[in-house]
Each structure stands twice: as C-alpha cells, then as structure tokens.
Amino acid sequence: MAKGFTIWFTGMSGAGKTTLARLIEAELKNREHRVEVLDGDIIRTNLSKGLGFSKEDRDTNIRRIGFVCNLLTRNEVVAIAAAISPYREVRDEVRQMIGSFVEVYVKCPIEVLAERDVKGLYKRAFAGEIEHFTGIDDPYEEPLSPEAVVETDTETPEQSAAQILAKLEEMNLIAPALPDAYSDEDDEEIRRRLEALGYV
C-alpha cells in the first residue's frame, strides 16, 4: 500500500524548487503514487491570495500550505511543497504537524541565482524595485538538518531529482522504479511465456 508523505522544497527564488517538484511528481506518478504539487507561485494566487511578504504573511502562507500537505499526506497522497519558506521555525512547525516529512534544501549561491534570474526578479530587486526580497533585503534561514540537500549550481535537474528519489527509496517511502523492476531480458521472457498461453 502506497504511503503518503510530504516532500518540502525550500530555497531561494530560482534555486530550482518548481523544476524539481515537477520532475519528482512525474516520476512518482509513473511509479503509481498519487501526487499533488503545492507550488508557492500558484498558492499565492488562490489559497494565500492577498498575502504579502512580511514575516507574518510568509508564515501564514507556509502554515496554509503545510495544512493542506498534512491532509493529503494522511490520505496516502504524496504532497510536494515548492515555496521559498525562508523561516526555519515555521518549517519545523509544519514538519512536526505532518510527521512523514522530507525536507529538501535546494541550494544555490545568490550570484548564480542573479545570473539565472529566471523571472527577472533579481534584476528588479537589486534595482530596489522589490522590497522584502529573500536573500537581498529579507533573510533566508538554511535548514539545519534537511533530509536532502541539492546543489543546483553544480548539478543538472535530473541529477538532483535522482538524488532525491534515492533518498525516498532509502527512507522506504517509495518502491524502486517500477517499469525497470524487470530487466529487458526479463520482459522478453515474460512476453514469450504470456504468448505461449495466448495472452499477448
């Protein structure tokens, strides 16, 4: 029976949370898990609409995401949160609530992030057009003991995703890859045996 758990991505804007969340989502669905992604950008347009970027609002946002992750987790869904979640205390608070919790620190130096500038936000923040920007004029508190750390300035998205999946397997939260449970030779042998009984 598939277990529910929460994968919590934390890291600065552009570090790779959404990218990795989607990669992990696709892979877990392939392995027959039920998966839901709660992406900060999307949550802020509905569940947390109207909230700003003060510490209080950020914490409220994280508590709401954590609340939904908890509901999903206890119903055997894999909940994947992808939000900056810069404050350690509220991250630990949702970890406590959910229990089956895998914190993944998506780590990337700010120079690389500013260089990447996926959404053009760093440029605007450095120009002083955005206030409370994490890593610039707002703090980011690194996790002290996350289950996994991926360093996206040196790894490809696929390498980072593979590392996270290996961790999930090691924690016994997911079974090893399904389509590859058989080797190609095994697949051929099974096909021949099924053919002999007229099943293919």
Binding site: M1, E32, L178, R193, L197, G198, Y199
Partner: protein, 450 residues
C-alpha cells in the same frame, strides 16, 4: 453471542489452510467427486461446503488471484491483466507484485503477528518481504527474486522445486507438455508437504497451477473418452486428489479452504477483438503490427487481452482522438456493434460491462472503458496480427467467470446463503483465524451471516 463474536473469542489462534487449484471449474470438480475420480476430495467435502463461485471480470489469473489476495476489486488493487499500458502511453508493461495497491491477506495476518507460508500464488513476483515464506508463482522467472526470505532458496533447489510449467513445450509435443505438467505437480506437492510439516505457520497457502495449463491444452480430452489424453487428464486430477487427501489427513482444527480462481470450458473459437475494432473503423494499426504498441494515428478504440476495450481518449493517450463529450455515444455504438457479433447464428457476446459497473476505487482511472464477457466457447483475445475475426489454435480450453470453486470446511448453515465472489475469500480466511478484514477489502466474510 453472534457468530463473529464467537470467532473473535474462541478462535483467536486458529489456523487456516488454503489450497488453490488454478482454473479448476466447480462443475468439473463436482463431476469428479461424483464419478469417483476424486474420492479423497469427496470425503473432505462431506466435512464442509462446496460452492460455485464468481470471479473477477476479466476472469484471468493475474486479476483473479490479486483480487483473492487483497479481497479487492481491480479499481482498488490496480491489476487489470497480465499486461497493461504505462500511463499516458501505448507502451506495454507487465504488472508485477509491486503494482498491487492494496494490503494482501498475508500482510494483514503478519501485522497481527501471524506467520504465513505462501507458495505459488500468481502475480506475487517479485517476492515482497513478509512474515513467513513466500515463493511467487506465474510469471516468476528467477527463483532468487521469487523467494522470500532469500535464505530459503537453497532448500527449494534441494527439493528440485519448479516455479512453473513451460507452456512452450507444446511446440515440441503434447507428450512433452504433459510430462512437464506432471513433473511440476510432483515437485510442487512435495515442496508444499515439506513446508506444511516442517515450518511454523498460522496461514498456509499453496497453489497448484498446472491444472490451468492442463486445461488450456487438453480440455478437449475430457469430453472425449477416445481422446489420446483422456485418461491422462483423469490421472492428473487423481494426483491432485491424492494431494488434497494428504492435506486432509494432516488437518487438526484448521479451517480448510480449497478454491480456484476461475472456471474452464472448451473453446469453439478464439475471437480477436482488435480485428473487429479494425474492421469496423475504430482501430488503425501500423503495418506488421505485433502488439498494441503499434497503434496508428486516428484510432478511436483498442483492445487488450482478454476482453478489455479502451477508448482512445484525448488526454488519456498520446494520440488520443476521442473527445470526452463523445465518450458516451462511442461506448453505446461499440456496445451495439459487439452485441451483433455472431457465430453459427448465435451472438457470442453475453454482456458488455462498463467501467463504473464493475470497478470502483482509486485505480479506476486505469481501468478499461468496457469489459466484454463472451458466451462459453468464444475466447476473447487481444492479438493484433490476425486477419480473421475468429480462428482456432493449439489452445482448447478457456476461462469462465461464473464457475470457480470454493470449498470451506464449515457446515453450510454457518455460511451466507448467497453465491460467493472471489473477493470474499480473504475476509473469510481472516475471519476463520479470528481476524477482522482490513479496510479496503470489497468482499465480505462468508461467515458474516446477517
């Protein structure tokens, strides 16, 4: 005090034995009891109740045994056939034990501290960790991956255990196949009795699968007394009877169950649903197509073995063409068309089930849109390389859905009066051991009389 309470209190530590006979039809078993072919079973049956049982739709072993072990319908456990398509793809994969989405009978027993021996249940490969010993059945390939715990492999080798009959032997000769069937049965029986006598267990499950192989290739021998293999067929069942007798001898106050996962009948014709779909403009295939992986653009429906029909829906498949809004109309049209397929003036489709009539649960999204149930004699196949709609080949026996077997060593009056379904077996076994069924089992204990 209700019967269930009685089980709870008095029978807390009772053991249960289940012997599976893959594909043994109730009507044939009855007949062999009555005509003296199975005298030892006849004795056993006097000490309990022999019933005809319904099995899953589709009525093939991978689906049926998974419903047996989980007590759940495919909409819950997720196994719809020996092969299936990967999500959002036409790529075939072979479902294995890791794809089963539900708790098995022995996992549940294990959780309550009971130890199980589980030998040769189909669709349990690769072997998963459990409390006890498990040796997977069909389609297991490698004994190492088929055995839990791995330390038990040397003993199996010493016992010269055989995972399965090699049905390809029939290409060589029917004699070669028959020899393999007998040899496999002999090794299986020896291993089962060894485990029965030498291991600690609370739940013992041993399945004989050569019954199914015998019947696929030798069914024609049973009706025809002059058939070359007529007496070989009877002799085989006599050996099975002897084995059942040897289990019977050993019984103390264990509850004994004997079951099959489906029935059997003779084949008049094999019917190729993909041929029908192609002839009627629903399916387009690439040239020299070998499997449904070679589906071509513009298809509206396709079939997988045995009678599973899938609409090529937009969003569900990479080159899906059918809009959701058109689903209803297309289902009706195909159902109508299927009802008109006939042979010798008789409609060969008994009933077409829609997904929601027979499947429910979180895996329903992977279910076929339609499941076709044929009348006896017309075996539905998923092959794509056939030029004719119907033909015959080496197979002479086919599965049936309404004629599986269930024996319980309990008086008729202790059991529910209605016809059992294969999903009822797991909750019944658990009840006989004083255990309640876990959530997610669709079946109900046969002891649970209202």
């Amino acid at each position: 005090m209700g019967l269930l309470d009685r089980f709870k209190s008095k029978d807390k530590n009772r053991r249960a034995v289940l012997i599976g006979l893959d594909g043994a039809p109730y009507t044939l078993v009855r007949r062999f009891i009555e005509d003296g072919t199975m005298p030892r079973l006849a004795e056993l049956v006097k000490r309990g109740t022999l019933l005809q049982m319904d099995t899953t739709i589709p009525d093939i072993s991978s689906v049926a045994w998974t419903s047996f072990m989980t007590g759940a319908n495919p909409g819950r456990h997720g196994i719809y056939g020996f092969l299936d398509l990967q999500p959002n793809s036409y790529k075939i994969y072979f479902p294995n034990s890791r794809h089963i989405q539900c708790t098995t009978l022995w996992e549940e027993a294990g959780r309550r501290g009971r130890r199980s021996i589980v030998i040769n249940v189909p669709s349990t490969y690769p072997a998963q960790p459990m409390n006890g010993i498990l040796v997977s059945g069909f389609v297991a390939i490698d004994l190492n991956k088929a055995t839990y715990p791995p330390e038990f492999v040397p003993k199996l080798r010493e016992l010269d255990y055989r995972i399965d009959v090699d049905a390809r032997k029939v290409q060589e000769s029917h004699d070669a196949l028959m020899e393999d069937i007998l040899k496999t049965l002999e090794r299986r029986v020896e291993t089962l009795l060894y485990l029965y006598d030498n291991e600690q267990w609370d739940l013992f499950i041993g399945v004989i699968t050569s019954t199914d192989r015998l019947q696929h290739f030798f069914w024609d021998a049973i009706e025809d007394e002059n058939h070359k293999y007529h007496s070989a067929f009877l002799d085989y069942y006599a050996l099975v009877d002897d084995f059942l007798g040897r289990i019977g001898e050993r019984l103390g106050d264990e509850t004994l169950f004997i079951m099959s996962d489906h029935g059997f009948t003779g084949i008049e014709k094999q019917v190729y649903l993909n041929r029908w779909l192609a002839d009627n403009g629903y399916l387009k295939l690439k040239e020299n197509a070998r499997s449904i992986e070679d589906i071509a653009e513009g298809s509206r429906a396709f079939a997988l073995d045995p009678g599973r029909i899938y609409l090529n829906l937009k969003g569900r498949y990479p080159s899906g063409t059918v809009e959701r809004a058109y689903r209803r109309a297309l289902l009706d049209e195909i159902k109508q068309g299927l009802s008109e397929i006939s042979a010798n003036g008789t409609a060969i489709v008994k009933r077409v089930y829609e997904r929601d009539e027979i499947f429910s649960g979180p895996r329903t999204d992977a279910a076929p849109d339609l499941c076709v149930q044929p009348i006896y004699g017309y075996d539905l196949k998923g092959a794509v390389n056939k030029q004719e709609l119907m033909d015959r080949d080496l197979l002479t026996g086919m599965h049936t859905q309404d004629d599986a077997t269930l024996f319980i060593s309990a008086p008729r009056d202790d059991l529910r009066p209605d016809k059992p379904h294969i999903t009822d077996v797991a909750p019944t076994i658990l009840a006989s051991m004083g255990l309640t069924a876990p959530e997610g089992m669709d079946g109900r204990s046969m002891f649970a009389r209202e």
